[in-house]
């Protein structure tokens, strides 16, 4: 039933939605850790893209999958560093509210 057939488009749209949900959170949540999580959502959206394309476009080459693996690795590293910094700044300002961090401006 072609009408229902799942084409890459579906996945792309799904990932787009996920991406922008994450983006919305990243733009609006006050809490630094929350923003970090939202960024993870966005990266996952990218992964969905990659793997979907890997499945549909280059099934035998695994390019997308490997790309996704690296993305996941980097994401994990980023989360680690990010959290470390957030903890650090929490020590300084006793807050993780991003609106409080405006010593550097203009």
């Amino acid at each position: 039933m072609p009408a229902l057939a799942i084409s890459p488009t579906n996945f792309v749209l799904l990932s787009a939605v996920l991406f922008f949900i994450g983006l919305f959170g990243a733009l609006t949540r006050k809490n630094a850790i929350a923003v970090l999580m939202c960024i993870e959502l966005m990266l996952n959206a990218v992964n969905i893209n990659l793997i979907a394309f890997s499945r549909f476009v280059t099934p035998q080459l695994f390019t997308g999958q490997i790309f996704a693996i690296f993305v996941i690795t980097v994401a994990a590293a980023e989360v680690g560093v990010g959290l470390a910094i957030i903890i650090n700044i929490y020590r300084h300002r006793l807050s993780v509210n991003l609106d409080d961090f405006d010593w550097l401006k203009w």
Binding site: L23, A26, F101, D102, W106
Partner: protein, 629 residues
């Protein structure tokens, strides 16, 4: 005669030498200056002798030049042009300048800038001599301006006096206005004829056809003489010029500055002659100036001021003569006038030294007893200028009136005649007031030293016999100095008698008013009766005031206006740009709030912008608008 080029050079060297080296040693400086001038005079007399032996020079002047400047389309060769005219001028200028400098030895004794004075005098003489001898109009212009600047320096010699500094400025600016016209004239000539050498111009101009253009050029050209020779309406500087030391006034009025204008007109008479309307202009300017200045002179009180206006008037006379086409008469008067005017100025100077610079003739009187030589020489000068035979003035003035009448300018003749009467009147008014009548008890005059009186005597001799070279019976002058073909003069008895009577009448009137009645009641009554006229004349028709007003209101006004425009509008725009830039910087800065998520938002706004830009501008935008490929 072939060393005429030395004549301007020597004084110039003297000037350089004095101003650079020998300033400290007064007498050395003076000697240098006088020596240069006198030797110049000696050479000049040889030159005159040479010219007299070579009558062919009249039509084929002796010219020798060197290259001064050359570029494609503009070549200037400077040098000496010798013909009777220039020879005569060289002779006259050197003679009078030498006498005046000798006289200055006494007059300037003890002045602070003694040697500076002599330096300036030398430069003054040098410039005038160069002007006279120059073979090229540009060279002549250089000398012309040199004369101007020297007069500026000398008039402002007492630079601590406010009046002196104003007079100097006035003299320079006023003449400068005229010179602008002259400069334009020169430019035009150079453009039209491609040369400024007098001799070649004298060949080319008479053939030139474009009369209207030539008229403009000539009129512009004539502005120069108007300024330099203090013709109306640029005469205002001349009377003030007596702010300088008296010898300077003498030099300016008699031998150098003011006659430069006359000389120039005479030099290029071939140009004016080929455009009759301009000749008329010259004649009328001269005539008007003559009577105009004479009327003013009648009412003045200061001795030098009276003489100054008389100069203006006499120069007007010469101009009139040239205007009616008589080079001979004009220059003859120039020649005689030089002597008696120098004589009278120096006399006035001697009087002033005697009276410790009290200048008002009404406060003098009876000086003849205390300073006989001065007085007698002065009287001779008076007779000369009043045109009493056989003194020099009689002959030259007679020639002028003769020429005017002969050329059919009756109106001008009448003016001239009346001026002659006025001249006699005001000069003798001065003489009677100053030298005759009863003495003024406050004054303790005494005769000046020989070094001052001897020049007076020499000049007096010339003022007496100087005219005899131009009588209808022995017309040496006219044979050498004339324009076009030479016509031997014939004795015009009625005119001669008329002149004499006019002069005598003037003297008599003066005697009646200012000598016969000790108290001068008549004169005062007359002045009272015509009070308005009197004040008008006494204030020189208020022309100075008008000029002052124009200068300070209009010119300075414009200046101030433009300056404000500059700092507020032009500068305002510049600063406006600057301010705008700074404001833009400060404005954009506000977006940098320091809020991380604002930054993120801006980032994605940027994404949006880029997306729109790419999707809707690129070459394939149309195909993308539908979102289809």
């Amino acid at each position: 005669m072939y060393h005429a080029w030395l004549i301007p050079l020597l004084p110039a060297l003297a000037f350089a030498c004095i101003s650079l080296f020998t300033k400290q040693w007064k007498w050395l400086s003076a000697t240098l200056s006088i020596g240069a001038m006198v030797s110049g005079f000696i050479i000049a007399s040889f030159v005159v002798a040479g010219v007299l032996q070579h009558p062919e020079l009249i039509n084929h002047p002796l010219v020798y030049t060197i290259r001064w400047l050359s570029m494609p389309g503009f070549i200037v060769n400077v040098g000496i042009q010798l013909d009777p005219l220039s020879a005569m001028m060289l002779f006259m200028v050197t003679l009078i300048a030498s006498l005046i400098q000798i006289y200055s030895l006494g007059y300037m004794r003890g002045e602070k800038g003694f040697s500076v004075f002599f330096a300036y005098m030398s430069l003054f003489g040098a410039s005038m001599l160069l002007l006279v001898a120059s073979a090229n109009l540009l060279e002549l212009f250089v000398a012309w301006e040199g004369v101007g600047v020297c007069s500026y320096l000398l008039i402002g010699f007492y630079n601590h006096k406010i009046s002196a500094r104003q007079a100097a400025k006035k003299a320079f600016i006023t003449t400068r206005i005229g010179d602008t016209g002259l400069l334009l004239g020169l430019l035009a000539l150079q453009l039209i004829f491609g040369t400024l050498s007098i001799s070649s111009l004298s060949q080319q101009i008479p053939q030139y056809q474009n009369i209207p253009l030539l008229i403009t050029v000539a009129v512009l050209f004539f502005l120069g003489p108007i300024g330099k020779s203090g013709q109306f309406p640029l005469h205002v500087w001349l009377p003030d010029a007596m702010e300088g030391p008296t010898p300077v006034s003498a030099l300016i009025h008699a031998a150098t500055m003011v006659i430069a204008g006359v000389y120039l007109v005479g030099r290029v008479l071939f140009m004016f002659h080929s455009v009759p309307p301009v000749m008329e202009l010259v004649a009328w300017v001269g005539g008007f100036t003559a009577i105009f200045a004479a009327t003013i002179a009648v009412t003045q009180r200061e001795i030098k001021r009276i003489l100054a206006y008389s100069t203006v008037s006499q120069i007007g006379y010469m101009m009139m003569a040239l205007g009616v086409g008589s080079l001979t008469a004009g220059f003859f008067h120039l020649w005689t006038h030089a002597f008696f005017k120098a004589l009278m100025f120096l006399g006035a100077g001697s009087v002033l030294t005697g009276l410790h610079h009290k200048a008002d003739v009404w406060e003098m009187g009876g000086l003849i007893k205390k300073m006989p030589i001065t007085a007698i020489t002065f009287v001779i000068g008076g007779l000369a200028i009043a045109g009493i035979p056989p003194f020099a003035g009689f002959w030259s003035k007679g020639d002028i009136l003769d020429a005017t009448l002969a050329s059919g300018h009756v109106a001008l003749f009448v003016i001239g005649a009346f001026t002659a009467f006025l001249t006699a009147l005001y000069i003798w008014r001065m003489i009677f007031l100053a030298f005759f009548g009863k003495e003024n008890p406050e004054n303790h005059p005494k005769e000046s030293p020989a070094v001052m009186t001897i020049p007076l005597i020499i000049l007096a001799v010339f003022a007496t016999v100087g005219g005899l070279i131009g009588t209808p019976w022995g017309d040496l002058w006219g044979r050498y100095i004339h324009f076009g073909t030479y016509v031997a003069p014939v004795a015009n008895w009625p005119l001669m008698i008329g002149d004499t009577l006019l002069g005598a009448l003037g003297i008599f009137t003066a005697w009646v008013f200012y000598c016969k009645d000790e108290e001068k009641v008549k004169a005062k009554a007359l002045a009272k009766q015509f009070n308005g006229l009197y004040t008008l004349l006494y204030n020189k028709y208020y022309i100075d005031e008008i000029y002052m007003w124009f200068n300070h209101t209009m010119v300075d006004g414009v200046g101030r206006l433009l300056y404000l425009f500059d700092i507020y509008v032009v500068d305002g725009i510049v600063n406006g740009f600057g301010a705008f830039t700074l404001a833009a910087g400060a404005g954009l800065r506000v977006f940098q709030t320091g809020r991380l998520q604002n930054y993120a938002l801006v980032f994605f706004l940027g994404v949006l912008a880029v997306a729109v830009l790419l999707a809707f501008t690129g070459p394939q935008a149309t195909l993308l608008l539908g979102g289809v490929r």
